[in-house]
Symmetry: C2
Subunit: 263 residues, 2 copies
């Protein structure tokens, strides 16, 4: 019957409808969150020191273990650095581009993102990066690119792994020349992963190496000339060419699997 409703206390929470399961946050999480806000919201300039662990213990009433776990969270987030010894302690930091790249890598590897998906992202980012680089490159940017190009030229005929590595540096330098930190970080971590995949596939034949150098020269010229649209289209073509080469080398759905990449 309709009124045959048990009135046990297991149903008492029907009064608390919509609350869902109450969550009991860990004390270290709470502290980490609190410190994170303080760090982000204001005060704390870059090198500033947080209270020592034992000070945090006394101010928060938590145990030192919990405090340390909170600090470890912040450290993993890249918000603080920690040094032992007198005058050491935890100091406020900025999450580095490498740090962000490492988390992006974790995301990608944890989900077995396909290589073609990676190329799609690259195809979205790198032309935009090149266009901005053409508009904003400084003399330092250009000379850095020239130096890398010189090393690539040398390595192309002598040291294959150096060639691939400098290739990544090349892309990184262009991303730096865009003078957009976020775009830089995105583009760098994506091309870094492409680099790993390339090493595995060893697709860099002499012919490919030659074409890469040629493409680089044309892209550099566009950036040097400050022609954003030209740089964009040339990079776009380059990435697409790379994609089609890779497509002929690799089975279409190969995924980026886990490798070293120690942060």
């Amino acid at each position: 019957m309709a009124n045959d409703i048990p009135l046990t206390n297991s149903n008492a929470e029907s009064m608390l409808d919509g609350l869902g399961r109450i969550k009991v946050p860990k004390s270290s999480d709470v502290l980490a969150e609190r410190l994170k806000r303080e760090i982000l919201s204001d005060g704390y300039t870059l090198g500033a020191s947080l209270p020592t662990e034992r000070e945090l213990v006394s101010t928060t009433g938590l145990s030192r273990g919990s405090v340390r776990e909170a600090l470890r969270i912040l450290e993993t987030q890249g918000l603080v650095n920690t040094r032992a010894g007198r005058y050491g302690g935890t100091t406020v930091a900025q999450p580095s581009a490498d740090h962000l790249a490492s988390h992006i890598n974790l995301y990608i590897k944890g989900r077995s993102v396909t290589l073609s998906a990676l190329i799609e992202v690259r195809l979205a980012l790198e032309p935009a990066v090149a266009a901005l680089a053409a508009e904003r490159r400084t003399e330092e940017d250009l000379s850095a690119l020239r130096a890398i190009a010189k090393r690539i030229d040398w390595a192309a005929d002598n040291d294959l792994s150096a060639f691939l590595e400098e290739n990544v540096n090349w892309h990184d330098a262009i991303a730096a020349a865009s003078h957009n930190d976020l775009l830089h970080a995105f583009a760098t971590s994506v091309s870094g992963l492409m680099f790993e995949a390339s090493q595995i596939k060893e697709f860099a034949s002499a012919d490919v190496r030659q074409r890469v150098r040629y493409a680089h020269a044309r892209i550099f010229a566009a950036i040097e000339a400050g022609d954003a649209e030209l740089a964009r289209s040339r990079v776009e073509r380059d990435v697409q060419a790379y994609a089609s080469i890779l497509a002929t080398t690799v089975a279409g759905t190969s995924s980026v699997t886990a490798v070293d990449q120690s942060r």
Copy 2:
């Protein structure tokens, strides 16, 4: 004189040239790294359980505190979840898109990335997202978009904050329709930050709201029709329009400062 070189042991390390400062990694870092590799490289399917803390203590010889700090690192990286209680423990997880977005947000806020830089990234990502969405959208994607559009229509005249929030959902749904996880995560976190900035600036006048709805309708039509290039160009125009509106509202170099965004 040239041979007046002190031979104290402070110079003894000249023999070790190029080593730089030797680093002494923390035991928790070592363990975290080791577990991370095991998780990524192979074994460990998604829900699988890691050894219990006390088992790790006995197998590694470390203290429980160090083990817990290592696990906390992995947790922050999104690689594991932890549940207390019997049959609880540490289980392998995938870093979620939200997780990645949270780290991206930290990077952005920690560096005070300018709003215009954010727009540049959006301008790189969203047109590409829309193009892919047009090619790959499923019926579910389309109906989700329709539902959101309906809620936006309602909220536009009734609830401003709901309007802004659903606006984010709209962009998220399109990103989901691209069926590229990484692109999705990138685009979502960027537009999420734009949302925060928009709330602060309260630029959403009735006129703007009207134009947003119109733009959405045109973009949806392109995606529904499966016309990638049309979707791309329409989104590109939309983002640029948004940028110029924002430019007239905001002083050019305002930066995205820290706000809540609790993961």
